[in-house]
Symmetry: C2
Subunit: 252 residues, 2 copies
DNA sequence: GAGAATCGTTCCACGGTGCTGAACACTTAT
DNA sequence: ATAAGTGTTCAGCACCGTGGAACGATTCTC
């Protein structure tokens, strides 16, 4: 499921944890079936994980523990982007009433670091922590555009350009050309390339030396994301916010 | 560091991850020294963890990866308390301008599930994901008070009543008596028992069958937490909010 | 109620595997 | 140029994680 050869016991432990999150808690037998291992092995792992408090054993069921919260908060704060940008995202939400999100790149995929939405905003599928192909989002494309040439090629070579949707860009040349204009405008658009009915605008967030550390976006239902608002107003807001974040980031 | 006997490789992997968060990223040698293992062993673990994307290898340094965010979000959402209560906490913050937080119990300790603060509110040390002894917080005491007698004894037996502060309750009888009055009033107070200069009020959040699933609090600097506000006004707010959360929780 | 089929847990012997220390290339100080 | 520091690779041995079978305890099914 995970890699090809690493420490077997560790790979298995994480397979079990991941299965546990997918199943939203489960018993030993159910888990054993799900990961394709004998009950005793799974039991052994669960015991270990529980003793380390990464797993909780309640009401005859095992669940993933909140100790992961401690680690993930620390991981998120190591991207110092998060601490600086979070309040700005909240402000964008207040100003626009739509969805605003923060993304960082990791292992060639886009990770939602933070997300907030106005009360009238679209219900959306993505959650904080979700990992999506980087070429199918405004947030991702804008990161990709500002990454060093070499890294960009590595990522595309490794992950390819799978079609997530009938609008997804799957051609390298088409993508390359779009990334070019993204670099010029410092703005990326997503016209329902990942989710039908959802459009978004995103801007890059650069550090002092000019390398991307993440991106910020505004997203909403297509019928509200049109004309001048989509072409001018929202891009200006998101670009302005990105600049504020960059400034605050450098003085921290 | 972790347990006494479980799967060695798994325990070590998590030791390494924890060290990585403590050190805010590190190299192989530094890590090896920190966990007291040969470089090669640590290297092997880091490779495994990186391949599974739980660790990132950048600029010649290893850091904890954002994949933990995915798991922790899932773990947090399994406590369905979080989804329901989060907006209510935000409202309390808006109403009072102080700090409001959400806690759940796990492995006998109190875990901060969510926290928010007004712009004028006290700077505070605790973060989401932090795990604190359960007897030294209003949030924790109120959970302890409403836990089944047996569980409560287990927790106290296992963890004891360590003094976090010169005000911390360390006597079992004194604690038992306070828990009694907490059960009566459905309100717990923390009078600088964990942090000097910080007072707080907390109320329990019960599910349909009457068992605690968590607690909610308002906290602030002692000089603002006094008189009628501390004795009546804030307790009423926190209790009312807890009730709203309980209602929303049952209809979800 | 008896029986079958779950469940979770415990045990032990075997074989595979994670551990280790040494050797490697490489950069940075001295 | 030497030395001390990195990170990485390799291979053999001891050990430890593995998985099958057997255990009680529940919960179904008839």
């Amino acid at each position: 499921m995970t890699g090809e050869n690493g420490i077997q016991a560790v790979d298995r432990a994480f397979d079990i944890v991941e299965s546990l999150t997918e199943l939203n808690g489960a018993g030993v037998s159910e888990l054993a079936r799900h990961v394709g291992l004998p009950k005793s092995t799974v039991h052994n792992h669960l015991n270990t994980l529980e003793r380390a408090e990464y797993v909780v054993h309640e009401d005859g069921e095992y669940r993933t523990g909140l100790k992961f919260l401690q680690i993930s908060e620390s991981a998120r704060n190591q991207h110092d982007l998060y601490q600086v940008a979070r309040p700005e995202v909240d402000q964008v939400v207040e100003k626009t009433g739509e969805i605003s999100a923060l993304m960082a790149e990791e292992h060639g995929r886009g990770v939602f670091i933070y997300r907030n939405r106005g009360s009238e905003a679209a219900r959306i599928d993505t959650c904080v922590g979700d990992r999506v192909p980087i070429h199918c989002t405004a947030l991702g494309k804008v990161i990709l555009a500002f990454l060093p040439e070499q890294r960009r090629q590595e990522i595309i070579d490794h992950h390819g350009l799978p079609a997530v949707n009938h609008n997804t860009i799957t051609d390298r040349d088409v993508l390359a050309q779009e990334l070019e204009t993204i670099r010029d405008e410092k703005i990326a658009y997503d016209d329902e390339e990942r989710l039908n009915g959802l459009r978004s605008v995103a801007a890059p967030i650069l550090d002092g030396s000019g390398s991307v550390i993440g991106s910020i976006s505004i997203a909403g239902p297509t019928h509200r994301m049109q004309g001048d608002r989509f072409q001018t107003e929202l891009p200006e807001i998101v670009l302005g916010t990105a600049n504020v974040i960059e400034l605050n980031h450098q003085h921290s």
